[in-house]
Amino acid sequence: MAAKKPRLAVWKFASCDGCQLSLLDCEDELLAVAGAVDIAYFPEATRGEISGKYDVSLVEGSVTTAHDAERILDVRARSRVVITIGACATAGGIQALKNFADVKEFTAAVYAHPEYIHTLATSTAISAHIKVDFELRGCPINKMQLVEVVSAFVAGRKPVTPAHSVCIECKLKNNVCVMVAHAKPCLGPVTHAGCGALCPSYDRGCYGCFGPMETPNTVSLSRQMAHLGMSRADLKRVYSTFNVNAEEFRKERERHG
C-alpha cells in the first residue's frame, strides 16, 4: 500500500481569489502536485467538505468580520502547518485601507443599507489572530514560490525563498535602474523580492506589491523620491497600497501625514 499522502486544505478569507488561483494556474505542475498531496478541502476547485485534520493549510485573505475571526481559530485547530499566501493574508491587503478610515462612512459610501453589513473596523493579517508557520508574500504570490513552499513542507524541509530586495533581482536581470537612469520613483530598494523585478523590467518603478523586505530603509528612500519631485501626499499614497498594514510601510505612511 502506498504511503498516506499529506492532506492539503485551501481556505479563503477577504481577498480577490487570485492567490489560490495561482495553484490552478500552475498548469504544468498541477497534476503533479495533485499526485503528491491529497487536496482534501479547496472549495474553489472541489465540492469536498471540511472534515478532520489537515497536514498543510494554505490561507488566502485577511480577517475583516467577527465570523472570520472565529473561523481562523478553527482552521488553526485543524491544521498541522498553516501557510499564509499573499498580501491580504500576510498584511491585511488593500482592504486594510479601512483601518485608517471611518468604517461607518466607508459602508455608507458603498451600501444603501449600512445596517445589513457586518464588518469589523479593521482588516488584519492572519498572524494577528493565530500562529502562522510560514508567510508567502506578494499581490499576487509568485506561483513558482508557492510550488516551492508546498513541496518544502510536504518534504519536511525549509522553503528556499529569497529575503533580499527587488533591487537584487534587477541586478540579476541586468536591468538598468529606473530610478537612477530614468528618475522614476521606485519602491524596489525597500520591497521584498519574489516577483523577479517585474515592474522595472517593463519600464516602470516598483509599487511594492510584495511588501517590505526585512529592515528596509524607507526613510532614506522617501528622501530620494522627494528629490525626484514626489510631494508628501504622493509619498503617503505610495506606501498606502496592498501592504499598507505591514508595519514598516504603515510607519512610513504615518510619517507623511
Binding site: A101, Y116, C195
Partner: protein
C-alpha cells in the same frame, strides 16, 4: 412531501463565498435567494483620494480571475475624462490581452469548475484520473491565455504593464511570435472541445431572458460598443445609470441590478453570443452551427458550450492581431489632467463590467462606482432557481441541491468580484 427548504451553506467551484436557499411550499417554489456573504472590501470608498494613475492597479485587485476587465473598465472611463482616444496598435494590444483573459477565465470555468458537474466528479483532479488526456489539453489551452497575459502584462494575475493611456512598455514583434505558435497549437483542441462539451446531457431549461451585451459595428465586443438587448435596448454606455438601477438586499453583500421599470436581465457569454453571433469568426460560427447551438441560445446550462465558442473566437482573434502587429511608436498616449466624470463598460468574461469615476483638477478620485457582472446577474440567477426548481422537486434532496448548485454555476459567478460568496438552502416546509 410538498414543502421543504433546500439549502447549501457554501457553494463550491465558484470564485468567492456564497450560499443559496430555496423555499418550497405546497409543491411550488415560493422563494429563492442567492446569498452572497463575501466580506465587503469597500473599493469604491478607498479609491477616493487616489491618483487616476493608481486606479487600474487598485481595481485589478477586485478579482484575481479577471483583473484585465477591472483594469480596462477603469482605464477607459478615466481616459474619457482626460480626453485620450486610443486607436491603432495600442487598441489592438488591449484586445489581445483581453483575449488572453477570456481564454484563461473561460477554460478555467469550463474544465476546472463546470465540466465535473456534467461528468459526475467532485473536482477536476478526480476527473483527471479518468480523463487525463482531456485535462492535460485543457490545462495547455488555459496556459496559452495566461501566456498572453504574461507576455503583454508582465504576469497573469494583476498584470503590471497596463496603464491609463496604453502600456508602460509595448512588446516587440518577436516577443509576440511564440504566442502565435502556441495559439496555433491549441486551435484544433479549441474546436474539438466544443464538439465534446456539446454532447453533455443538458436539462431542457429555457427561459425568455432579456439579454444585455455590448455591440460594436465591426467586431465581437470586448472593450467598446453600445449597450443593446433583445428587447429593444440600444443605448450609449453613458446612459447606463439612467437605464439600470442597483438595489441593496439584506441577504447579499453584492448589490442587485435591474433595468429600470422592467426587471432582471442577463449578461455574460450567452447574452454576448445571442446578440453578436454575426461578429464571430467564420470557424466559430460554423462549429457553433455544427453542434446545433443556433444563433441565439436561451438554455443557461449550455453556457458551457458558448464559453468554448468564445474561447475559439479569442484564439482566432488573438492570431489575427499578432499577425498584423507592428509595435506602436509610443507605448502610451498622454492626456490632460482636468476635473470631470467619465464612465465605461467592457465585456468581462462574465459580462458587462461598468465603471464611473469623478476626478478633481489634480487628478484625484472624488467618486467611484463599479458594477460587476455577477451582481447584475444575481436577480436572474434567483429567478432561474424559482422557475427551474419546480420541475426538479421529485429529485431526492441531495440531488436537488446539486442541480441547484449547477444552475448557479451556469453563470460562472465570481463572488469576489460581485461583492466585491455563496451558500444552498432548500426549505420544503
Amino acid at each position: 412531501m410538498a414543502s421543504k427548504t433546500i439549502k447549501l451553506d457554501y457553494l463550491a467551484r465558484v470564485e468567492g463565498e456564497g450560499a443559496f436557499k430555496v423555499v418550497v411550499r405546497d409543491g411550488a417554489v415560493k422563494h429563492a435567494e442567492l446569498r452572497i456573504f463575501e466580506p465587503p472590501r469597500f473599493f469604491e470608498a478607498f479609491l477616493r483620494g487616489r491618483s487616476y494613475m493608481e486606479v487600474p492597479d487598485i481595481t485589478a485587485r477586485i478579482c484575481g480571475i479577471c483583473p484585465i476587465a477591472y483594469m480596462m473598465g477603469s482605464i477607459h472611463a478615466l481616459e474619457k475624462v482626460l480626453g485620450i482616444k486610443i486607436d491603432g496598435q495600442l487598441r489592438e494590444l488591449r484586445r489581445l490581452i483581453y483575449c488572453g483573459e477570456w481564454i484563461e477565465s473561460h477554460v478555467l470555468h469550463v474544465f476546472m469548475l463546470h465540466a465535473p458537474d456534467f461528468l459526475g466528479y467532485d473536482s477536476v483532479i478526480q476527473m483527471a484520473k479518468d480523463h487525463g488526456d482531456l485535462v492535460k489539453k485543457a490545462l495547455e489551452f488555459k496556459k496559452v491565455g495566461n501566456d498572453i497575459m504574461t507576455t503583454i502584462g508582465g504576469r497573469e494575475i494583476h498584470p503590471i504593464n497596463v496603464r491609463v493611456g496604453g502600456f508602460y512598455r509595448v512588446p516587440t514583434k518577436r516577443e509576440l511570435q511564440p504566442l502565435a505558435e502556441k495559439l496555433k497549437g491549441v486551435r484544433d483542441f479549441a474546436i474539438e472541445a466544443i464538439r465534446l462539451v456539446a454532447k453533455f446531457d443538458f436539462p431542457d431549461s429555457e427561459r425568455d431572458y432579456e439579454f444585455v451585451a455590448l455591440r460594436h459595428p465591426s467586431e465581437y465586443p470586448l472593450n467598446e460598443g453600445r449597450l443593446v438587448s433583445n428587447k429593444g435596448m440600444d443605448i450609449p454606455i453613458e446612459d447606463y445609470d439612467a437605464t439600470f438601477e442597483e438595489t441593496h438586499v439584506e441577504h447579499s453583500t453584492a448589490l442587485h441590478s435591474h433595468i429600470r421599470g422592467r426587471g432582471p436581465y442577463f449578461t455574460g457569454p450567452l447574452a454576448r453570443y445571442s446578440l453578436n453571433f454575426d461578429k464571430l469568426t467564420p470557424t466559430a460560427q460554423q462549429v457553433a452551427r455544427e453542434v446545433g447551438l443556433g444563433k441565439t441560445c436561451n438554455n443557461p446550462f449550455k453556457s458551457i458550450v458558448v464559453r468554448l465558442v468564445e474561447s475559439l473566437y479569442a484564439v482566432e482573434e488573438a492570431l489575427r492581431i499578432i499577425a498584423a502587429y507592428e509595435p506602436p511608436e509610443k507605448p502610451f498616449v498622454e492626456g490632460t489632467v482636468r476635473a470631470g466624470s467619465g464612465c465605461h463598460a467592457t465585456e468581462a468574461p462574465r459580462g458587462i463590467c461598468y465603471h464611473r469615476y469623478t476626478i478633481d483638477d489634480a487628478g484625484l478620485v472624488t467618486f467611484a462606482r463599479i458594477i460587476a457582472p455577477t451582481s447584475q446577474n444575481q436577480p436572474t440567477i434567483e429567478k432561474d432557481l424559482t422557475s427551474f426548481v419546480g420541475n426538479w422537486l421529485d429529485l431526492p434532496d441531495k440531488e436537488l441541491q446539486y442541480r441547484c448548485e449547477q444552475a448557479i454555476r451556469n453563470y460562472d459567478p465570481c463572488i469576489s468580484c460581485s461583492c466585491h460568496f455563496l451558500k444552498l438552502d432548500v426549505d420544503r416546509g
